[in-house]
């Protein structure tokens, strides 16, 4: 076990050192931040999709309250930082629009079908969950396909970018954010069953660490924690290698995106943290004496459902200007109105996904007939 753990430490250091040597100090630091995310999310079992399901199915609000705590802690430092360095740091600010709302709703539904959100898919794949690996492939494909049609979708109707600090200033915007998070926490606590309200110590620690890592991401990269852009870029790289003419598309011909497509993945900040996150989840899983059981056996139709749902999840995350990380966590913690709208729409979709899950995901039984997974 000691040798395994020593090997895992070496693996983490080698990964960060490779990024440092190949792409500079910022790249190395962001891989370390991503490793931290992976270790915390997998090691302390802090998730996003699971708690959204647990509050509905089990009246368990502990994970959701921990999410609000992490977002609030991040916002408390992110708002002043963004105000202090408006030319160096950007928030996760995006417009509210019809496609964005629909995308968030669909994302919420599909994340319950693939048993993981944006970060959850990376964590699940990295920690050896077979559903997570299949979902990761679909998510990469979907988030790339979403870039091809984004212009058309946003053309259906999009408001200007609205931020809370833009409406009321950084100080008041932060207080409104914290008050809304506290109010939501109170609603969740009221909805939750006795004994399922107060997060356990593990989640308090995880929430604090996630906030520290998210702030490190903001300070180092100059932009908040994100997932989807990196995965879409990976899909674009694969399509480009396959001969696709991406220069003809509106998204990939835009200067910032064309620059990312033409440069190494190691220059893309969301790719760097995604790489670290997946590797961190792998390390956290292998660190344990017992890596845990594999997910339930599923029928062939259910595997197909997982792949299609992940494809749609990636596509919808692109339309929604982010997933639970880029839109919900980073959007709200940096004052973007679209983060709040995303949360409401995605929660509605999540409720639908919970209902669809036993219908579409069936365990492969000995008779081959399938029972709800």
């Amino acid at each position: 076990m000691t040798r395994t753990r020593a090997g895992l430490v070496m693996f983490a250091l080698a990964l960060a050192a490779y990024a440092f040597v190949a792409a500079g100090a910022r790249a190395g630091l962001l891989v370390l931040v991503g490793l931290g995310f992976g270790l915390v999310l997998e090691g302390l079992r802090f998730g996003f999709a699971g708690p959204w399901r647990m509050i509905v199915t089990d009246c368990d609000g502990r994970g959701l309250i921990a999410q609000f705590l992490a977002i609030g802690l991040t916002a408390a430092a992110a708002f002043p930082l963004l105000a202090a360095a408006p030319d160096e740091l950007f928030g996760a600010h995006a417009p509210v629009g019809l496609a964005m709302i629909a995308g968030a709703f669909v994302f919420g539904a599909t994340m319950q079908l693939v048993m993981g959100c944006g970060s959850g898919t990376l964590v699940n794949a990295g920690s050896g969950n077979l559903v997570g690996l299949v979902a990761l492939v679909g998510f990469i494909g979907g988030s790339f396909l979403g870039t091809l049609h984004l212009e058309w979708w946003t053309g259906l109707g999009t408001m200007p970018v609205i931020t809370l600090q833009g409406l009321w200033g950084a100080g008041a915007g932060l207080w409104v954010t914290l008050a809304l998070l506290a109010a939501l926490g109170a609603v969740v606590a009221l909805r939750a069953a006795p004994g399922k309200r107060m997060p356990p110590r593990r989640l308090w620690i995880a929430a604090a660490l996630i906030a520290v890592l998210a702030l490190a991401n903001l300070v180092i990269a100059g932009q908040p924690w994100g997932i989807v852009y990196g995965l879409g870029l990976w899909g674009a790289k694969l399509a480009d290698a396959g001969g696709a003419d991406l220069a003809a598309t509106a998204f990939w011909s835009a200067p910032a995106n064309a620059e990312r497509l033409g440069a190494s993945i190691l220059t893309d900040v969301t790719s760097l943290t995604n790489i670290g996150l997946l590797a961190g989840a792998f390390i956290a899983m292998r660190w344990k004496a017992d890596p845990g059981a594999q997910t339930a056996r599923l029928t062939a139709a259910s595997w197909l459902a997982v792949l299609v749902a992940a494809l749609i999840m990636g596509y919808s995350a692109r339309l929604a200007f982010g997933c639970n990380v880029g839109a919900f966590f980073s959007g709200i913690s940096t004052g973007s109105l679209h983060g709040w709208v995303w949360m409401v729409a995605a929660f509605g979709g999540s409720y639908l996904g919970i209902r669809l899950r036993p219908v579409l995901l069936r365990r492969a039984g000995p008779t081959g007939t399938g029972v709800p997974a």
Partner: protein
């Protein structure tokens, strides 16, 4: 009739496949993308650098 259910790969095996997928993407990108000019690399930390972040984010269109 009983249908045999195929054995599932263990978590460490699936995790290694995920790491393999990641390394394959990195290798392909390394072969196809120009090497990063380290003299043109951004400052280690954006905050306080006086330089606007050049990366793209999920919230960008």
């Amino acid at each position: 009739m009983t249908v045999p259910v195929p054995a599932r790969p263990s978590r460490p095996v699936v995790a290694l496949l995920a790491i393999g997928l990641l390394l394959a993407i990195l290798a392909l990108d390394t072969l196809r993308s120009p090497a990063v000019d380290l003299f043109d690399a951004p400052p280690p930390i954006a905050f306080g650098s006086g330089v606007a972040p050049g990366g793209a984010h999920c919230s960008g269109g």
